[in-house]
């Protein structure tokens, strides 16, 4: 019985880690929004999204990832089609045309396309057998698979989400093999690209970067959010101020506190203990992914899991780094924690891929 197999092979430990994270997330989303005029049902909505996410997780985990990989050409085309549709007829929210509306739901297709891109890149890379280092042509091909949807997202324009596509490619290329010299050249090109890209960035993106370099410069304007976040986290201390008792959270000094800055709310109300638990669980998920990749039956499984890992890792690094001022500000959500349906669904589906690969590791 396939269902019994699923029950038997399922990675319940990983699933429990996700449930605990979701619980912390729901508590603090509720704490952050219970007095809000516009978002007072955020925690309830998040709960619904999580339930949908869990359902999708099981479906994805139940499917053989080889079958998903076989369907990838038309899935990929469909993803491109949705992104084009979004660009043409999407809804604009805070300057980005990145939303589509389906019945009662509002979705960011770019988040869901990410999952498709993970599998597409993994399939391409896994089919390059017996390659120790990639050549230029292979790198360009892999880049294009990732690059076409990225270009469409960048046109919305949604810089934050655009950047989150890059780790799929980056991790994939690293694992597939890049010559050390090529790697160094790529790094140099990236650094040199910054001044070239500078004039093309919007004012608030430039502000975020200058502010990251010099955070004390403008505590009123663009530095305000990170400063308030650090105050919230620092004042939480070791054990926190107590749930629903964080002044920075309850008195609304924290910006976008149920989405991008949810970890600052955890830090304020649950203290270092709460942050430690959260980061511990996220770390566990990351290492579990690495372990899954290493025990994967084949290269396709390995690349799929590492693609998911790339997304999780980059989101975690950027979001956690941002709330304590270690990284520049971007609107990148924290996996399993930040409020937002598209992000939750994408993250849970991706987790389904990981668990799917894991349960098939012993099959010979």
């Amino acid at each position: 019985m396939r269902l019994r197999d699923l029950w038997h092979d399922f990675d319940w430990t990983l699933f429990c880690a996700i449930l605990v994270l979701s619980a912390i997330s729901l508590i603090e989303i509720y704490s952050a929004t219970k007095n809000s005029q516009f978002e007072q049902y955020a925690a309830l909505k998040q709960l619904i999204w999580i339930c949908i996410g869990i359902g999708l997780l099981f479906i994805v985990a139940a499917l053989d990832y080889h079958i998903i990989s076989e369907q990838i050409p038309w899935l990929y085309m469909a993803g491109i089609g949705v992104l084009v549709y979004t660009l043409a007829l999407g809804r604009t929210v805070s300057g980005s045309k990145s939303w589509i509306v389906i019945g009662p739901m509002r979705l960011q297709p770019s988040e869901l396309v990410k999952v498709i891109v993970i599998v597409a890149v993994a399939r391409y890379l896994s089919e390059l057998r017996n390659v120790r280092y990639l050549n230029l042509e292979q790198m360009i091909k892999a880049g294009l698979i990732c690059g076409i949807p990225v270009a469409l997202v960048a046109m919305q324009p949604d810089l934050g989400t655009t950047i989150t596509f890059l780790p799929i490619l980056g991790i994939g290329l690293l694992v597939r093999g890049i010559k050390p010299l090529t790697f160094v050249i790529m790094l140099i090109c990236f650094v040199l690209a910054l001044p070239v890209a500078w004039p093309f960035l919007g004012q608030h993106q430039r502000d975020r970067i200058t502010n990251f370099v010099n955070p004390e410069k403008d505590l009123k304007g663009s530095g305000y959010q990170v400063n308030q976040s650090k105050i919230a986290i620092g004042s939480g201390g070791a054990l926190g101020k107590g749930i629903f008792k964080g002044s920075q959270n309850q008195l609304e000094f924290l910006p976008t506190r149920h989405t991008d800055f949810i970890l600052a709310v955890v830090g304020e109300e649950m203290g270092f203990a709460g942050v430690g638990l959260t980061l511990g669980l996220l770390g566990f998920i990351l290492f579990r992914a690495i372990n899954t990749a290493q025990t994967a039956r084949d290269e396709l499984g390995l690349f799929i899991v590492m693609g998911v890992f790339g997304i999780y890792f980059f989101h975690t690094l950027e979001n956690v780094g941002m709330v304590i001022g270690f990284m520049p500000m971007t609107g990148i959500p924290l996996p399993f924690m930040s409020y937002g349906g598209s992000s939750i669904i994408a993250v849970f589906m991706a987790m389904g891929l990981v668990i799917g690969v894991r349960r098939r590791r012993y099959v010979n």
Binding site: R129, N130, R132, I171, L174, V175, R176, G177, K220, G221, Y224, Q228, K230, I231, A232, I233, G234, S235, G236, G237, A238, S247, Q248, L251, E252, F253, G267, G271, F272, V275, G276, L279, G283, L286, F287, I290, A293, Q294, D298, E299, L302, M306, F309, F313, L317, V320, G321, I324, F326
Partner: protein, 613 residues
């Protein structure tokens, strides 16, 4: 086999990434450790400052009353518009731009006010508009949501109920200066402190202790709740002065637009019943932050309205000095009041002719006649016979040439010359010719109005000098202020000396003398006029400035006086004409009040009649 090896290679690369994850997570955890454990108190502090706003509850200043508990300096409610830079979501320019229209102020003016306080700590509120109108208050309240950094602050504000009346005695207040803040630990920025007059001298008594209230605010500055740690402001202590507002007004009305001063004392106690300096100013201007234009106008007024002439206008006393000289002579036994002098209208001393103010002369005069008619020739002879040493010695004893010790700032001591003084200061020997001048109160001798009242009142009281004061120290001790007793001193003067000069001064007013205008029926007024030549004729206002200064000093009753009045009218001409009428008004009012014939209605009527040209 090949396939297996390929997978192994990939797995080893995955392991490398695993190490990177460990490092990154460690760095992030370290970051949280720094914030939440190492620097916790710093951030806890910042969070509290975010959350809690302190509202200053300004203590009302103590009120100042006259001796009959009529209010002179009161408080009225007022509102300030204040701006706090800390935690403001806007740049200063944005705040200024949003406010300029609503407050009816230019952006430059607002920026200037903020820039002036640039060095203050950012949590320190900056006053953008003092004594704001209801329109301003409504505007700020209505925009509380958009501009949480701007708020309305309640402040009781000084209200000097009588406007310009007694302004020099009361003084005024102003915002504390940086120098004062450095010196005094109990002063806080933005406190209002006394700058002049009683407000300055008794600042510590009048100033209250501000309270505070802490409120929890959200990020838009809306007050969520009030914390229970409110400290109520402690109002300053009220002060009851010795001023009699009726006498004060009577004197002020009669001096009118003239430049001058008047001091009314009770010689028995040293209490000041009235202290006038003209022209005056309205201390209310300072209560709500005087505009630079108003200040400059007052400052540039050639008659110097800020100058407290009652204690600072040191002028030659003219003939009022003859009283001191007469007493000095009587006390020295060199001459008795019986000695007669023939006045032909002038007299020669040391080869120079000295004229009497009545050119045809007074004929044969004794001391009584000489005082009643103010005969200069008699006093030339008397002064010449006495010599400068005896004159100056007695004048000093009597209270001239030194400060009276009045409880007001900036008193001048005047000048009584002596041989040692002229050698020390002018580096010349005293010439006996100078003595002839000093004998009629001219030349190198200066007296302030308060000294004139003090010295003449003291002499008429038998040589008893009581330190003039506006506030009774007993009252201050009752509220726990360490105030010294009213200084009291006595010098020896014979009873018949006092009788002789007092009788003659009674004659000045009641026996056809130079000040019959000061006569009050039923009240034995004694007095003496004086006319001081203006030596320094600095001519910024031709005509009036070359006029002599007019003096009058009077007391009543002529024995054991209860009240002494001195009046100085600068460039007022003859003392009997311009200086005696205000003194008469005061004495008349005093007597009516004393005998119960006074009510305020008639007083106002009298005053309005008398002030008509």
């Amino acid at each position: 086999m090949q396939h297996r090896d390929g997978l192994e290679l990939l797995r080893s690369r995955v392991s490398m990434i695993g190490y990177a994850v460990a490092i990154v997570l460690s760095v992030l955890v370290f970051g949280f450790w720094q914030l939440q454990v190492v620097q916790k108190s710093h951030y806890a502090d910042l969070a509290e400052k975010n959350r809690i706003k302190e509202i200053r509850l300004v203590a009302p200043r103590g009120k100042i009353y006259d001796r009959y508990h009529k209010i002179l300096a009161d408080n009225r409610p007022s509102y300030n518009i204040v701006f706090v830079r800390e935690n403001s979501p806007h740049k200063v320019e944005e705040t200024v731009a949003a406010l300029a229209n609503g407050l009816g102020m230019s952006a430059e003016e607002l920026t200037q006010k903020i820039d002036r306080k640039k060095k203050d700590p950012p949590y320190q509120p900056i006053t953008l508009k003092e004594d704001a109108g209801t329109g301003d208050v409504a505007y700020v309240m209505a925009h509380a949501y958009e501009l949480p950094e701007v708020s309305v602050e309640f402040q009781p504000r000084r209200l000097y109920r009588e406007g310009q009346v007694a302004a020099h005695a009361l003084g005024y207040i102003g915002e504390v200066t940086e120098a004062q803040l450095r010196e005094s630990p109990d002063l806080k920025p933005r406190d209002m402190v006394g700058v002049q007059g009683l407000e300055l001298v008794y600042d510590a008594v009048l100033r209250g202790v501000d309270g505070s209230r802490h409120v929890v605010v959200n990020n838009s500055g809306r007050e969520i709740e009030t914390l229970p740690d409110e400290v109520k402001p402690t109002p300053g202590h009220d002060i009851y002065t010795t001023i009699d507002l009726d006498l004060q007004k009577a004197a002020e009305d009669l001096i009118g637009d003239q430049v001058g001063a008047a001091v009314v004392l009770d010689p028995r106690t040293g209490e000041i019943l009235a202290l006038v300096s003209k022209p005056s100013f309205d201390p209310n201007l300072f209560a709500s932050g005087i505009t630079s234009f108003d200040y400059k106008t007052l400052q540039d007024n050639p008659d110097h309205p800020f100058e407290n002439r009652a204690i600072r206008s040191a002028q030659p006393p003219g003939s009022i000095f003859k009283i001191i000289e007469a007493a000095a002579a009587l006390e020295s036994n060199d001459i008795t009041s019986l000695d007669h002098v023939y006045c032909s209208g002038s007299s020669n001393f040391y080869g120079r002719a000295f004229g009497c103010w009545v050119p045809k002369g007074h004929g044969n005069v004794d001391m009584y006649d000489a005082i009643v008619h103010s005969c200069d020739v008699y006093f030339y002879n008397l002064g010449n016979k006495l010599g400068i040493d005896k004159i100056s010695q007695f004048a000093s004893l009597a209270g001239l040439g030194r400060k009276t010790g009045v409880d007001l700032p900036g008193e001048l001591g005047g000048l009584v010359p002596s041989q040692t003084w002229i050698q020390r200061v002018k580096r010349v020997k005293w010439s006996p010719i100078d003595t002839i001048n000093v004998a009629i109160g001219q030349g190198m001798i200066n007296v302030t109005p308060i000294q004139a009242a003090w010295a003449i009142g003291g002499l008429a009281s038998g040589g008893r000098l009581k330190q003039p004061h506006l506030v009774d120290p007993g009252q201050l001790r009752m509220i726990g202020v360490d105030a010294p007793e009213v200084h009291s001193e006595t010098y020896t003067v014979r009873e018949d000396t006092v009788e002789t000069v007092a009788k003659a001064m009674w004659g000045v007013v009641n026996d056809g003398g130079t000040a019959t205008i000061a006569r009050v029926d039923g009240f034995d007024v004694a007095g003496k006029t004086g006319t001081a030549q203006v030596v320094n004729k600095s001519a910024y206002k031709k005509g009036s400035d070359t006029e002599d200064h007019a003096w009058f000093v009077g007391f009543a009753p002529y024995r054991n006086p209860e009240i002494v009045v001195s009046v100085l009218i600068e460039h007022g001409g003859h003392g009997g004409v311009t200086a005696a009428p205000p003194a008469h008004a005061v004495l008349d009012m005093y007597y009516k009040k004393k005998t119960g014939h006074f009510n305020e209605g008639t007083a106002q009527k009298v005053a309005s009649l008398m002030s008509q040209p």
